[in-house]
């Protein structure tokens, strides 16, 4: 079980590469530029990883997407929750 950390926009080639690598039990955390995924609830990874994909709250806030994420009912995590995820998942892979 792997935690994938995406740092680039959901329409980037990097995001596509990550999506190819996600296994059935894996989780995804969206940080930095990747939080733009909050704007697009139709992004395929939202379906692919249902209930195991999260947005990093502080990066959402700094970019002005916090209320959009709330409107779109997307799951967010604080930095503390990020650490909790890395406790659960033995391996992490960062996509940048």
């Amino acid at each position: 079980m792997i935690l994938h950390i995406l740092t680039k926009a959901p329409d980037s080639i990097v995001a596509t590469q990550m999506q190819q690598a996600i296994g059935g039990q894996d989780a995804v955390l969206l940080i930095e530029e990747a939080v733009t995924a909050a704007l697009d609830p139709s992004w395929q990874a939202w379906q692919q990883c249902q209930s195991r994909i999260f947005l990093l709250s502080e990066d959402l806030i700094s970019r002005g997407f916090a209320s959009i994420a709330t409107d779109n009912e997307l799951p967010t995590l604080e930095m503390d929750g990020f650490v909790a995820l890395t406790e659960q998942y033995e391996k992490t892979v960062t996509w940048y």
Partner: protein
Amino acid sequence: MMQYGLLVMGAPYSSPAPHSALRFAHAVLARGHQIAGVFFYHDGVHNASSLMAPPQDELNLREAWIELHQQHAIQLDVCIAAALRRGLMSESEAQRHGKQAFNVAPPFELTGLGQLLELQQRADRLITFA
């Protein structure tokens, strides 16, 4: 309680990676874990530059790493090959290369890539910020 290793591969002010890594490090410690070491590779080596002088209203990332080291005795290793290429060297490397100045000083240590693999072996978790 777990041991975390951090791999930082982005430069301050050009990449958000060092900021994210630093905030993550504090959250790791706040949850009662330990940080076995931070390894700076690729453009991440610029985090160690003692000549970094950002505007006063911006965080000085080097100082923030040093503070982390001072408070929690966390090792700050910088890949020597990546550093030399990019204009970062310690006093002893400066002598070896016949340079008049240096810009990497303790607690940052220049070291080989083997240290990264050793960190990955030793830590329960290795998290990359790039």
